[in-house]
């Protein structure tokens, strides 16, 4: 069988195409971005011309995926963990409506926060919504479980969440594919009111969802991805979720773990397997990547006061990614004293690229703030968030996408004058427009700097929905065209930029100042792609 070297995210993209999806809907976000990028460049996806454009945000993406499912086709939605916060409304409600064509939501978590604001665990959302959650432990399972998830979704009538952490998303291994399936034909839901959540319907559908729960538990118990491995030493039973299983087995290179083990890759938790483990073993250790979800669940589960070890009582670290060494320690293995990192080493934090326009915007803004006073620049998420670090130290906040404008508005409402919001072009169309509307309606005294590099740079230079539309959007929302100002972030324009910001700061109302120059990495990427196309 031909093995292909694929990252976890690529394996998911390949499996979704092979399973006959008619569309992928996504907004970029590390570590989920490459699923969609993989499909965008996949030969079969191009031949079938399945939907593969970026959406404006995760909510629009998931809603569109649901619409495609309504029409009977299989659809995939992808996002990073915090993206699911944005899409949470549709996510919770589509558990109630159920699906028509198979629908899979891939959510990529980022424990240890390699590139995220937090390390929230998406499995909680899956449990909250009471839908099946798949958590593959390796690249092949990522492929196989994605491939099967669409059929599983259609069988249960529910959306399936597939949850992966950074380590699986961005790690490669050999993966074997399965036969390509046809796309579903267009077919409307047999119940024309299936997607109608008027309370009278909603109550009924919620009951349907509750009624399915025991079946889902049974399916988990029967799943080939959940497993019970016998072990001779019954002093301890081990529960491993997703990739935590690998970290356990890494400690037993001969596959000779002495303890009984339950591996969980499909939720709701396989209750029978866990009861069996509890019955056979004195104590339990739960290893899971993320928050202690299963550990919390099991602590009171058996009603016998069985001791459960894990992240909550220090057997494993309370936060952050797991690794084989954490498991070794929890199992009482002797570790060699490792070599030490020399103390002379300096840190090497990420920084803005040489020639990046964000630098010029911050140089100018800093000059204005020197007079206006510190602590008044509400920023957002993107490459420009690096403006929080020296040498700029310009911005004061970064919370969630779009919060720059709205937090600045709240501070202005509180009486802080002047206030600045700094937001990227993609973040603006993701979640900035509604906040701007609030400002326009209330004539807030606010200065909004849109740092427009014409791409989604932070995640690798994807197309931005904002491109060529920002001024029109602002005008349409109701910003006075006289206070929509444009500059080119270049060193030679420094004096002019400072002047523009000063003028708008003096205006008591909504000002939008747009600094537009394409990201230098995106320019390089486009050149490289054009060259590659020429070679073909």
């Amino acid at each position: 069988m031909q093995r292909k070297l694929l990252m976890g995210v690529e394996a998911i993209g390949q499996a979704a195409v092979d399973a006959g999806i008619s569309g992928v809907y996504a907004y970029p976000g590390t570590p989920s971005t490459e699923i969609t990028e993989y499909i965008q460049h996949n030969k079969l996806a191009i031949e079938r011309n399945i939907h593969r454009e970026w959406s404006a945000n995760e909510k629009t993406a998931l809603e569109a995926a649901l619409g495609m499912s309504y029409a009977g086709k299989r659809s995939l939605a992808c996002m990073k963990h915090v993206g699911l916060n944005v899409a949470a409304d549709v996510f919770m409600n589509m558990a109630i409506t159920g699906i028509n064509g198979g629908l899979v939501v891939v959510v990529a978590d980022d424990p240890s926060q390699h590139s995220s604001q937090n390390e929230q665990d998406s499995r909680f959302y899956g449990k909250f919504a009471m839908i099946p959650v798949f958590e593959p432990s390796n690249q092949q399972e990522a492929y196989d479980m994605t491939y099967e998830a669409f059929e599983f979704s259609e069988k249960t009538g529910l959306p399936v969440m597939l949850r992966i952490p950074t380590r699986l998303a961005h790690s490669r291994a050999g993966v074997v594919s399965r036969p390509v399936q046809n796309e579903n034909p267009l077919h409307l839901p047999s119940n024309p009111m299936q997607f109608m959540l008027l309370p009278a319907y909603g109550r009924k559908y919620y009951q349907n969802l509750l009624d399915k729960q025991n079946w889902l538990i049974r399916l988990s118990e029967e799943s080939s991805y959940n497993d019970y491995f016998e072990g001779k030493d019954k002093s301890l039973g081990i529960v491993c979720c997703g990739i935590a299983y690998n970290y356990l087995m890494e400690n037993y290179p001969e596959d000779n773990c002495p303890y009984p083990v339950v591996k969980i890759s499909q939720y709701p938790i396989p209750e029978k397997l866990l009861h069996k483990l509890e019955k056979e073993c004195d104590e339990l250790l739960v290893a899971e990547e993320g928050y202690p979800l299963v550990e919390e669940q099991l602590t009171d589960f058996f009603g016998k006061g069985t001791r459960v070890w894990g992240r909550l009582n220090g057997a494993l670290p309370r936060k952050g990614e797991l690794n084989p060494d954490h498991l070794a320690k929890a199992l009482g293995k002797e570790l060699k004293e490792p070599l030490k990192m020399p103390e002379t080493l300096a840190g090497r934090p990420p920084s803005l690229c040489a020639g990046c326009g964000h630098q010029d915007s911050y140089e100018a803004l800093n000059e204005v703030i020197a007079d206006a006073g510190n602590g008044r620049v509400f920023a957002d998420i993107g490459c420009y968030t690096l403006g929080a670090l020296p040498p700029y130290s310009t911005i004061n906040t970064c919370v969630d996408m779009g919060a720059s404008i709205t937090m600045a508005k709240g501070a202005a409402d509180a009486g802080l004058v002047p206030v600045f919001a700094v937001i990227g072009d993609s973040t603006f169309t993701h979640s900035g427009i509604t906040g701007l509307l609030d400002c326009v309606v209330e004539k807030t005294n606010i200065n909004i700097l849109i740092v427009d590099n014409e791409t989604v740079a932070m995640t690798g230079g994807q197309d931005s929905s904002a491109k060529g539309r920002i001024e029109k959007i602002c005008e349409g929302v109701g910003v006075d065209p006289e206070h929509i100002r444009l500059f080119v972030p270049l060193k030679k324009n420094h004096i002019e930029i400072v002047q523009i910001i000063r003028e708008e700061m003096a205006f008591n109302g909504v000002s939008v100042i747009i600094g537009r120059r394409e990201c230098v990495q995106r320019i390089a990427k486009t050149k490289k792609m054009n060259k590659a196309i020429k070679q073909v």
Partner: protein
């Protein structure tokens, strides 16, 4: 057989071409491979690391356990030291000597390397200069791969096939130049031991 490699450098230095060559080599030979990379935030001029594991049996963890790496292969000297806790005391450290200075407090590392060399096998190579000498200044990463190759449990001919596989699309000349660079790096290390 297994080789666990920590690949390190600075975002933008292209350590992934090294990983890709070894990946292609491993796949050609039907070896098992796992390779965890850094994407996202840390790529903007920050420290980057990749865990690369090759074996003739299935591999569980995507991450190399502490004190288990057979090799640290770094395209930047300071970055070669950041992951020392991963290196097995019997392992080797192979690093480019060309410093990538994009921070204000870059330390002097001479003494640190001299001290370390008393206990572990260290190869320091000016890969940028050797790449230039072979007429392909862009191929310093392949010089590094060559310099590290004596410590990797894959035959050098097979690694060369891996290099062919990943550079094939760019034309024969590029393939040749990268193989030349690989050989020059390998020669350097073999002449030291």
């Amino acid at each position: 057989m297994k080789t666990d490699i920590i690949l390190s450098g600075v975002g933008g230095q292209g350590i992934l071409s090294i990983a890709a060559s070894l990946g292609a080599a491993a796949l050609n030979e039907n070896y098992y491979l796992k390779q965890a990379e850094t994407h996202g935030m840390s790529q903007r001029g920050g420290a980057v690391v990749s865990h690369l594991r090759i074996a003739d049996h299935p591999i569980y963890s995507d991450l190399i356990p502490i004190s288990n790496a057979d090799l640290i292969l770094s395209v930047e000297p300071m970055e070669s030291l950041r992951y020392l806790p991963y290196l097995s005391p019997e392992g080797s450290l192979v690093t480019n000597t060309a410093e990538f200075v994009n921070i204000p407090d870059y330390p002097d590392l001479e003494e640190t390397f001299t001290e370390l060399a008393k206990n572990i096998n260290i190869i320091r190579i000016d890969a940028d200069r050797i790449a230039k000498e072979t007429g392909n200044p862009k191929a310093s990463n392949m010089v590094m791969l060559g310099a590290a190759s004596p410590f990797i449990a894959i035959h050098d001919e097979i690694i060369i096939k891996g290099i062919e596989t990943i550079f094939k699309a760019k034309g024969e000349k590029i393939v040749e130049m990268n193989i030349e660079a690989f050989k020059a790096g390998r020669e350097f290390t073999l002449s030291k031991s």
